[in-house]
């Protein structure tokens, strides 16, 4: 398995689990406005912190493993990762557009002309997570096909 594939599996496990756990916690509390309760806010920050730490550890493991095994990245690897980036970008932008639209609609419906600063973090986080997941899924599919 190439370092790209290992990293993609790592991304799917880390960020897929993160989204699943986050959705479960928010659904269990019946709100996405996590900052309004201290315990929920701490839970969301802890989950996010653990996900980021797991991502960094996973990257380090893959990088150290590839360095020790002296793995060379060939033309095919470059091609797949470039295509994965090209595909993941528009998907992440679409996620950003949908999130912005949904939030705008929610606020307009509630007749609010202001939003919480935490929503901006949501928008940024969704963009990053969707990008990594889309990139990872395409990479794994491309390796399987080639």
């Amino acid at each position: 398995m190439s370092p790209n594939q290992k990293m993609s599996w790592g991304n799917i496990v880390v960020w897929g689990s993160y989204l699943f756990i986050l959705a479960t916690v928010l659904a269990a509390n019946g709100t996405i406005l996590f900052w309004q309760e201290d315990s929920l806010r701490n839970a969301v920050f802890t989950i996010t912190g653990v996900a980021v730490a797991a991502f960094i550890i996973m990257m380090l493991f893959v990088w150290i493993g590839a360095s020790r095994a002296k793995v060379t990245i060939d033309e095919r690897d470059h091609k797949i990762i470039n295509r994965a980036n090209a595909l993941a970008g528009p998907i992440a932008m679409t996620a950003l557009a949908v999130t912005s639209l949904v939030l705008s609609l929610v606020y307009v419906k509630d007749k609010n002309s202001v939003m919480s600063p935490y929503f901006l973090m949501y928008v940024t986080l969704i963009n990053v997570v969707v990008y990594w997941l889309a990139q990872a899924i395409y990479t794994l599919v491309a390796y399987r096909r080639s």
Partner: protein, 145 residues
């Protein structure tokens, strides 16, 4: 200069001029709520929002259809520029988040008009970054051989 490189340069230049014009209008209006109140400002914003990607689409995608105009190296540069595009969007989102959080932290609320601005700026930055990524790709390829 390769056809793709030339068109990316034109696209970046036109996009940059439109963006600077938009920033000047926003600064002149002075307040983000003008976006909600002033229909002219919204029209300018939408014109730039559509204009920048449209210029890129016409110059880089539509007029470069002939297979003889784009070779393997050009395709590689386009694919690599996607990375720069995403990084530019992420950095702009992070900058918006930090700036707005710091400015509005005491009030605890950010005007909703910023959500539109954030999305529109991301789309404009994304297109500009793609053109810039292509130009940087050619520059690096020429430098490294």
């Amino acid at each position: 200069m390769a056809p793709l490189q030339k068109r990316a340069l034109y696209s970046f230049g036109i996009g940059l001029i439109l963006t600077i014009a938009l920033i000047a209008v926003l600064v002149a209006k002075g307040d983000v709520t003008a976006f909600e109140r002033d229909p002219n400002l919204r029209i300018i914003m939408y014109a730039v929002l559509i204009g920048v990607p449209l210029v890129y689409l016409i110059l880089v995608n539509i007029t470069l259809r002939k297979p003889t105009q784009v070779d393997e190296r050009d395709r590689l540069i386009i694919e690599r520029s996607s990375r720069a595009q995403w990084l530019a969007v992420i950095f702009s989102l992070v900058a918006w988040t930090i700036a707005l959080s710091e400015i509005y932290w005491d009030q605890g609320q950010v005007p909703i008009a910023f959500l539109n601005l954030i999305f529109m700026s991301s789309l404009i930055i994304s297109t500009l970054a793609q053109s810039l990524g292509i130009l940087v790709g050619y520059w690096r390829m020429n430098r490294n051989g």
